[in-house]
Every structure is written in C-alpha cells, then in structure tokens.
C-alpha cells in the first residue's frame, strides 16, 4: 500500500489539473464548434461562402444573408418567425393554465383513477409523435382546421400537457397544505386559495413550466409540416425545411435563418436551465 501512494497521488493531481482542463476545453469546443461555424457562415458573402480553398473567417462580414432571409418573398422569414411566436405563445399560456389546474388537482385531491391518470400522462410522453400525424390530419381536415393556427396549437398540447402536468404535480406537492387550509378556514373557497396562496408560492415553477412549453413547441416540426400547406402559415422549423426544398439550397440565407431560430430558445433556456433540470431530474433521482 505504502509504495503505491506516490503514484496514486500523482494520478489524482493530474486528474484534478491538466486532464480536467483538457476535458473541459474539448467538451466545450465540441458542443459549440458547429454553432460557431454556422454563425461564421451566416456572416459571409456569397463569394466567400463558396470559395475554394475554404475561407474559414469572413473577411468582409456582412448582414446581407439576414436581410435576404428576413425579407425574401419566396421564403418570408419574418412571417415564419411571427407564426412561431404566435403558435408558441398561445400554446404556452394555454398549456400553463391547463397544467396548473390538473397538477393542483392531482397533488391535492385523492380520487378514484388518480394513479391511472398519472400513468396516462407519463405514458403519453413516451408515444411517438409520428403515430399521431395521420389521425390528427384526418381529424383537422374533418374539422376544417388545415392551415390554421388552432390545429398547430391543439396538436402541440399532445406533447406539452403530459410533461407540464408532471412538473406541476411536483411543484405543488412541495408546497405545504397548511397554508391553503388556513386560507380556506378564513373563508376562501378552493379556487380562491389556489389563486391567492398556492400560485404565488409556485410562481418560479410555473414560469419554468411555461418556458418549457414554449421551447418544445418552438422545436416542433412534423405537425407543422403536416397540418399546413400554405407558405404563409409555416412556422420557423417548417419554414427552414421549406427553404431547403426550394430549388438549390441557399446556404447563406439558410444559415442566417438557423441562427435566428436558435437565439430565442437559447436565451430562454439560460433563464430556465436550473428549474428545468430540477424538474427533469427530481423524479429520476428519487426513483
């Protein structure tokens, strides 16, 4: 044992110092390099983009790709952006309201079928969304909802609601019951106690849930391409794919579009990170 000590200590010093730093640099570089390359691409002019040999840095950085993407009449990025903003905002508000009520009921009331319901919400998170495309398309066609925001918003509920209900059950369970009970003795009804006592306490959790709903609907692609046919109704994800489908791929405007689609979720995510990670892992760590 004694003789192995120096070697073991050397290994630990190496692991804590150079190995740690090399690993961190490699990790960060691997995660970020593709983004940086896309950002550089979006700032290049057409000549620099298709230069041989490859030009790594834009010599004359330009925003013309952004202007092109934003104002193009064929693939109107400004329109895609507004569509996404509207669909995701409405999904966010509605999902939050629905899951606050359901989460509160599941966390506070004992009723028949409670466990079964929780299991349904858990199982739905595992369902492949490709399964829903044909039936939902039939359903929206029958209701005349093709090329409407409603079809996209309702379809988004299929994957936002199950997850956010679980998140809300977790948050509400961590709030002590005594507070609402004393509010109810003071004359509040259930709904009053929920609004005045529980909601303010759960506010950070609710905000996280809302942002989560926004971020996942922002990424949604398959419903958006299946339930819309008009260019003016496309969301960002669907619009990006549509840009690829148009004649030859225009990597300049496309890279600008990619950057524009990434920035909002990246900003939201930095706010959300701690809460979301807590919500995601709480169940898993306990189990």
């Amino acid at each position: 044992m004694k003789r192995r000590r120096p070697a073991a200590e050397l290994a630990e010093r190496l692991l804590g110092g150079p190995v740690l730093w090399a690993g961190l640099i490699a990790l960060t570089a691997f995660a970020l390099a593709p983004f940086i390359w896309m950002l550089l691409t979006s700032l290049k002019s057409r000549e620099e983009l298709y230069a041989t040999p490859l030009a790594y840095l834009p010599v004359h950085p330009t925003f013309e790709n952004y202007v092109d993407a934003w104002t193009s009449p064929v693939t109107p990025f400004s329109r895609f952006f507004l569509n996404s903003l509207w669909v995701c905002s409405v999904t966010m508000v509605a999902t939050t309201a629905i899951s606050v009520l359901a989460g509160y009921a599941i966390a506070r009331f004992r009723f028949a079928g409670r466990d079964a319901l929780l299991l349904v919400f858990l199982a739905t998170q595992m369902f492949p969304s490709v399964l829903l495309i044909a039936p939902l398309l039939t359903q929206w066609r029958a209701l005349g909802l093709i090329d409407t925001y409603q079809a996209l918003i309702y379809s988004n509920f299929s994957f936002t609601v199950p997850f956010t209900v679980w998140m809300m059950v977790g948050y509400f369970s961590s709030i002590p019951r005594d507070l609402e009970e004393s509010a109810m003795i003071d004359g509040c009804n259930h709904f009053g106690a929920l609004c005045r006592v529980v909601l303010p306490l759960a506010a950070p959790g609710i905000a996280a849930t809302a942002i989560f709903a926004f971020v996942v609907s922002w990424s949604e692609l398959l419903f958006a391409i299946s339930f819309t046919t008009e260019t003016s109704m496309r969301t960002l994800s669907a619009g990006l794919l549509y840009m690829v489908g148009q004649y030859e791929v225009q990597w300049g405007p496309l890279s600008a579009g990619v950057v524009l689609s990434t920035v909002p979720v990246a900003i939201l995510f930095t706010f959300l990170q701690r809460h979301l990670i807590h919500g995601l892992t709480a169940g898993a760590v306990k189990g």
Binding site: A31, L131, A134, V165
Partner: protein, 309 residues
C-alpha cells in the same frame, strides 16, 4: 314554514363537503383530460382503426375494410424489416455513445472550477435547439464541397478524397448517429450530474482515508450509487431515440436507398409523403407495441433496482 323551524341550525348543505371537494377536483382535471382525449387517446384509436382499412388519402374510392391486410403487407415488406434493424443500430449506436460521453461530461462538470455555470449552460445548448436546426447545421458541416469536416480531414491528411457523407450508403448512418450523439450528450450529462451531486462527499473522503484510488472510488462508490439514475435515463433515452424522426427526416429523408430509414421515419414517410394512412396506421401500431414491450421490460428491471437499492 319549515325553514323558520330550521333557522336556528346551520343548514345542512345539499351536497356533502366531501362530494363537493371531489367535484371541484374533477372539474380542475377536465381541461387536461379533454386535451389528452382529443390529441392523444382518440387519435390512437383512429390509428388502430385506420390500420384495418385500405386508406390512401388521394384514392378515396378505394377506401374499404381489409382486416389485417396492412399487417400482412407489413410482414412481407422487406423495407419494414430493414427499418427495424436500422432502428436497432440507430438506437444503440446513439444511446451507448451518448451515455459514455455524457458520463465523462458529468464527471468534468461536477468538479469545482471558475466559470462552471457558464460552461454548463454552453455545453447544454445542442440539446435545446430545434431538431431541424441541428439537422441543417450538420448537413452543412458534412457538405461534400464546402463542408468544414471534409476540409479539416483533408488538411490533416486523414483523407485523400472528398466524401459525400450523407449520400453514401455506408457512411450515412454513422454520420446521422454522430449528429444525434452530439445532440444527446447534454441529456445524459444533466441527469448523471444530478445523480453525482446527490452522492454524499463523506463517502469519498472515507474511501480516500482508507487508501482507495481514483478508480477504486469510481468503481465502488460512484457507479453503484448512480445505478438507479443510469437505468432511468438510459431507458427514457432508448424509447425517445426509437421514436425520434426529425433528425433523419431532415438530414437524409431515410436515404440513400433506405440506408438510414428507421421505423419511425418510415411511418412518417407513409403518412406524410405517400398519404397511405392505412399502412402508416399499421406501422404506428407496431411502434406502439415495441414501446409497450420495452416499457414493461424496463418497469421489471427498475423494480429490481429499487429492491436492491
């Protein structure tokens, strides 16, 4: 007149307190239940029904009940069996390497160093951006003539000719799997980091005093204590990757010649491109059965973990 007689008592409520509470509870659940009914439960029922019909959207005159016809077609369809095999390659290639790299990332991010919060946020980015964005970024990196990957490999002298990564039958699958690994590492990093932080530091100190080395501590403390979270994270990821269609759909559309066609993209193609809802329904039912079988197996395994832990 009776009301006067009862005035002295507190009126007995028409419906008891307990029932009222129950009614309130159920009414809170109505919106969520309606959502699930309209967007998940009914559509699954419809998919099962569709699978029993000849249902091609642009041939309404041919719409008729054909029983298990779509399933017979499925069993005889060589592409279907190919997609199942491709799914296995896709899932295990992705999840295994995501797990290993994510574990390494979690061990790194657990250490105390300056700027840790920033590094954590940055390394999580690939996971939160839309799938279509991931697909397009990597399509551009893999681009044969102007892609930076070919350029770097040529400069390093590891390759002599440009490679068309996504249109080569042998390279397309490894290329999309690599992209999926890039995207999925943060998921495992987050989950395992949370697990690592839940391990009490005293355990490591005690082991250190007893003379256990780095590897010994990892093998006898870290791994056994992380086992539950490893099982949960891996199982969730396997199901999710099996179902995930966006990335392959964007990058290769399942091609070249179905080399990257997995069962979920094949289902998507049948519904979205071929508008063959009957066959897509049958494929959906198969996806659903695979998922249920896997979940059942997973629940048995986790129950085992809980009993041991």
């Amino acid at each position: 007149m009776t009301t006067v007689a009862l005035a002295g008592h507190r009126p007995r409520p028409l419906v008891s307190w307990r029932v009222r509470k129950l009614v309130v509870g159920y009414s809170y659940l109505v919106p969520a239940a309606l959502c699930m009914l309209a967007t998940v439960v009914v559509p699954i029922g419809m998919a099962i029904k569709m699978s029993l019909y000849h249902d091609v959207l642009y041939k309404p005159q041919d719409y008729r009940f054909i029983g298990l016809g779509n399933y017979v077609r499925l069993v005889q369809d060589p592409v279907f069996w190919l997609t199942l095999w491709n799914s296995v390659v896709w899932v295990f290639g992705s999840v295994l390497l995501q797990f290993l790299a994510g574990f390494a990332a979690a061990l790194l991010l657990q250490q105390a160093f300056r700027g840790r919060a920033l590094v954590r946020t940055l390394t999580l980015l690939p996971w939160i951006i839309p799938g279509v964005v991931v697909g397009l970024i990597w399509e551009w990196l893999y681009q044969p003539n102007y892609g930076v990957i070919n350029d770097l490999l040529l400069k390093a002298g590891w390759m002599h000719d440009r490679v068309a990564w996504l249109s080569s039958a042998d390279l397309a699958m490894p290329a999309v799997i690599f992209t999926n690994i890039w995207r999925g590492i943060p998921f495992f990093a987050i989950m395992l980091l949370a697990g690592l932080q839940a391990i009490p530091g005293e355990l490591y100190e005690a082991a250190h005093v007893d003379g256990a080395g780095v590897l010994g501590r990892f093998w006898h403390i870290t791994l056994p204590l992380l086992r539950p979270i490893i099982v949960v994270a891996t199982a969730t990821r396997i199901i999710w990757t099996f179902n995930y269609a966006d990335l392959i759909f964007v990058m290769t559309g399942g091609g070249p010649a179905n080399a990257t066609q997995i069962t979920s993209t094949y289902t998507l193609m049948q519904a979205y491109s071929n508008l063959d809802f009957g066959y897509a329904g049958a494929l959906s039912v198969v996806l659903l059965l695979v998922m249920l079988a896997f979940t059942a197996a997973y629940l048995r395994v986790t129950r085992g973990v809980e009993e041991v832990g």
